[in-house]
């Protein structure tokens, strides 16, 4: 068999995994539950759009049987990399499926077939302003204008805010620091935080990634912190799962999602709650926090601690949760498609009569809120920090 392998192609690292896949179809649905699991597959139905199809595209490219094209780019980039397939696939390559798709994206970029124009704008903006939103770097902590954030050089903990909470979903950053202040945590926020790299890694634009990682690590070390907390599932996944692939200089720095951090306070009964009336809340597992990082129970522990809050689960929850559609660069690349995926989730939340839909990620908030608006749903979305801040003293 002639394999057309070049050392420069990212996908070649996964040849063995690619040849594991027999296209048995198990990745297409929730295993032994039989609900749909793959947003792109369900929507487009052709074999290529399913996870196994993307793996076989990779195989076709390696064998030289197909060439890169704009349609292949669209197939590869229309996937929100939600990793549901990595849970449902029963074969030994299951854990690497998202890595294979991301390697395909890196190859698409290096061959000039990717990323999509809006995704390319991320990279340009990150290069110039260290954030993907074309906002001024000097405005990074403008969200904290009227808040009492600690003004000091050193602290135990760094709150890594992330670009989306800094510039787009500022309420998440504001409520997070309000919670930290209420808890009396010794923390710090830095105005020189750079993009964590997630939007670039997820879209195969790897050129600047090392530079971003080095900057952020230098920053963390200069602040002398041992623990970094974040309220962004995307940042968390990148800091915790991707950074170790790029550097061995993490030196025991602990990365925690805000829900992990808060759960420690809950288990020690250090949170004080207002009395509240009963309300029904359902929790949407962000893909980057759940399937990518295996954090399922901590957010639920936070929610269950809230007096009056009745946590009800959507049929697809935890590792089987339906993606919100915003991840993997889909929100930027295919805006309507992203909202279509999220609309399914809104419908699922409505079906169980939830009053509030919550999650733990600014991307999920953006896209789920867009879907609520699009579908004229009466359900209310609140991020977990927004919800918690309202009920703690």
């Amino acid at each position: 068999m002639g394999l057309r392998m070049s050392e420069t192609e990212a996908i070649n690292k996964y040849v063995e995994e690619i040849y594991c896949c027999t296209r048995c179809g198990t990745c297409k649905y929730i295993y032994q539950v039989y609900d749909p699991s793959c947003p792109a597959g369900v929507k487009f139905r052709f074999e290529t759009f399913y996870p196994s199809g993307k793996i076989h595209i990779a195989r076709g490219l390696i064998e030289g049987k197909i060439e890169w094209s704009e349609r292949i780019r669209d197939i590869i980039f229309a996937c929100p990399t939600c990793a549901n397939c990595t849970i449902q696939c029963q074969s030994r390559h299951h854990a690497q499926i998202v890595e294979i798709i991301e390697a395909l994206r890196a190859d698409a970029v290096s061959k000039g077939f990717g990323p999509l124009p809006n995704q390319k704008a991320f990279a340009d903006s990150v290069k110039k302003e260290h954030n993907p939103y074309k906002e001024k770097h000097s405005d990074r902590i403008k969200w904290a204008k009227n808040l009492a954030i600690p003004q000091k050089d050193k602290a135990e903990i760094l709150y890594f805010v992330g670009c989306t909470s800094s510039y787009r979903q500022q309420s998440l950053a504001q409520k997070t620091v309000e919670i930290l202040n209420k808890l009396g945590v010794d923390y710090i926020v830095s105005s020189d935080e750079w993009c964590c790299g997630s939007p670039l890694i997820r879209t195969g634009q790897l050129e600047q990634v090392s530079q971003l990682i080095n900057h952020n690590l230098d920053l963390i070390k200069s602040l002398g912190v041992k623990t970094v907390i974040t309220s962004c599932a995307g940042c968390y996944r990148t800091l915790k799962m991707d950074y170790p692939k790029y550097t061995d200089k993490l030196d025991g720095i602990e990365f925690l999602h805000i829900t992990e951090f808060l759960q420690q306070f809950i288990s020690k009964k250090k949170l004080k709650f207002k009395k509240g009336k009963e309300f029904k809340v359902t929790y949407h597992d962000p893909c980057h926090l759940g399937r990518h990082s295996n954090i399922y129970e901590e957010p639920r522990a936070v929610l269950n601690a809230i007096p009056g809050l009745k946590l009800i689960e959507m049929p697809r929850n935890r590792e089987n949760a339906w993606c919100c559609g915003a991840g993997g660069g889909v929100k930027a690349g295919y805006k309507e498609w992203a909202v279509e995926i999220a609309s399914d989730r809104i419908h699922e939340a409505e079906q169980i009569n939830a009053e509030i839909l919550t999650s733990a990620c600014p991307f999920c908030k953006t896209n789920l809120q867009d879907a609520i608006n699009e579908t004229n749903s009466n359900i209310k979305f609140m991020d977990i920090v927004e919800l918690l801040n309202e009920v703690i003293i």
Binding site: Y19, C24, G25, Y34, R45, T48, G53, Q90, S91, R92
Partner: protein, 495 residues
């Protein structure tokens, strides 16, 4: 739209392609049409060792009417048509040997009707075992499930004489069919079974008797006579008590006699007769390492039984124990235990045998999986010789000796199969598997084993050896139903 009829030879192939494309898009809509190279590539091969062959078009219709239009057009233009659902048939049967249009039926995935009184469901081709299982879990009824990924098509397996975990009681899956709706190559829609009289009333698809049974025009024809768009399949009451026993043994003849004894008692749902290599494969022993080692039990039987009452259960268990004691008298190291013990030792993948349909990951994770799947006589000599012959050949070609066999329909016939994993990444391994399959086919056919889901290359050889009058009848039926030879051409060695 340009007309293609009768002038295909005059047109440049690109022009012909464009005309077909235009027509197909008109029928199914642009969203459900593809001729992109990556799409065609994926439909050109499957997990088996069979050679790949590219289609030229892929369409995904949603209705019988769309399929009627597709077939009518394909017939007029003499364009090959290959029905496809999941492509997991392990016989290379959806590889488009002569190119043409792949009709991917997975969008037709509705469970249309459940008739509890007559115990059947009417389904579309895209309905998978997993989805039917999920549907029936909410009822007191069950269907039969193969040892295959859950997302394979019920209709495809039923039409291809697939077997399952109730085959000991009921035979191959085509015996569970009450009736079908099918589209003939000329676009005509036919209904077979009682639905021929009352087709619009889903409550009257209760049997394919008493009338000439035309179902045989579609079963095991591998999509060569039309596309089945609806099927009524029988379901059966689910018994409240279900249990399993595993028997480990050493002597092939005595073990097979034990199997025969149990089947004659008519108390089991299913009995599998496997080699130790098969169990190791299921348990997750990596490819190449599932070998028999000295001192190990050589054979493993899985007994599946159920009961309505505790008394019935105990009576059945007592009969199983008695049969096992007789085996132990002649095969003293034989042992019997339950599936929970095996699950404790080997993990969920083994325990999942209780939860069919399941995906056996270790069977499907080296890129290549094929089988020599046959139905054969139950004669002890034939089975024992068959095993020896097959094992020698598998050894010769350095693959794993995974026997996975099963008594069919009260032991009236025997499903004699060897599951063969191979690596598509390893240079030369696919070709080596092709040679093994060739030799396996030749040797086992001589012993009375008839391959099912028969790959085209074996079908051709069968036609050479079969009674010429049977072959002529086959050809006459095919040319009558499909005079232009558009339906899955090349299958069964018929052009």
């Amino acid at each position: 739209m340009k007309k293609l009829v009768g002038c295909d030879k005059l047109l440049e192939s690109s022009e012909k392609h464009d005309i077909i494309k235009e027509s197909l898009i008109k029928i199914v809509g642009e969203q459900w049409y593809s001729d992109f190279p990556e799409e065609l590539l994926i439909y050109s091969y499957d997990m088996t060792e069979n050679d790949p062959s590219l289609p030229e078009f892929v369409v995904m219709p949603r209705t019988s009417e769309e399929i009627q239009k597709i077939l009518k057009f394909a017939n007029e233009t003499k364009t090959p048509v290959v029905p496809f659902i999941s492509g997991n048939n392990v016989g290379g049967l959806t590889i488009p040997l002569k190119g043409g249009i792949v009709v991917d039926l997975k969008r037709m995935d509705s469970i249309l009707h459940f008739n509890e009184d007559d115990m059947y469901v009417i389904i579309e081709p895209g309905v998978t075992f997993g989805h039917l299982h999920a549907f029936l879990e909410k009822t007191n009824y069950r269907y039969c499930y193969p040892f295959a990924p859950p997302f394979t098509s019920v209709i495809a397996n039923a039409l291809l004489d697939g077997l399952n975990n109730l085959s000991l009681r009921h035979g191959s899956m085509n015996e569970w069919i009450n009736g079908i709706e099918a589209i003939l190559p000329n676009g005509d829609l036919v209904k077979i079974g009682t639905c021929c009289a009352w087709g619009d009333n889903y409550d009257l698809w209760w049997s394919r008797n008493p009338m000439p049974d035309l179902l045989g025009l579609f079963t095991s024809w591998q999509g060569m006579t039309g596309i089945v768009t609806k099927m009524a399949v029988q379901v059966w009451p689910r018994r409240p008590i279900r249990d399993w026993r595993i028997v480990l043994s050493f002597n092939v003849e005595e073990t097979y006699k034990f199997v025969k004894t149990l089947t004659h008692l008519e108390i089991l749902n299913d009995i599998l007769f496997m080699s130790i290599e098969t169990v190791k494969m299921i348990a997750g022993v990596p490819y190449g390492k599932a070998k028999y080692l000295e001192g190990e039990p050589r054979w493993v039987c899985l007994l599946d039984f159920s009961a309505n009452t505790k008394l019935e259960y105990e009576a059945k268990l007592d009969m199983i124990n008695t049969a096992f004691k007789k085996l132990k008298e002649v095969d003293p190291k034989a042992n019997m235990t339950n599936l929970d013990v095996m699950e404790k030792f080997y993990g969920k993948k083994v325990g999942d045998i209780k939860n069919l349909p399941v995906t056996i990951g270790p069977m499907l994770e080296y890129g290549g999986l094929t089988w020599m799947g046959t139905y054969m006589t139950t004669k002890t000599e034939a089975v024992v010789n068959g095993i020896k012959t097959a094992f020698d050949l598998i050894d010769k070609y350095r693959f794993e000796k995974c026997l996975y066999s099963r008594s069919m329909k009260g032991h009236h016939y025997f499903a004699f199969r060897f599951l063969l994993r191979f690596s598509k990444l390893q240079e030369g391994e696919t070709e080596r598997m092709q040679k093994l399959q060739e030799e396996l086919f030749n040797s086992l056919f001589e012993l009375g084993a008839f391959p099912y889901k028969t790959p085209a290359r074996f079908a051709k050889q069968i036609l050479k050896r079969a009674d010429p009058n049977w072959v002529n009848l086959l050809k006459t039926i095919k040319s009558t139903i499909d005079p232009n030879g558009i339906m899955n051409p090349g299958r069964w060695g018929l052009e």
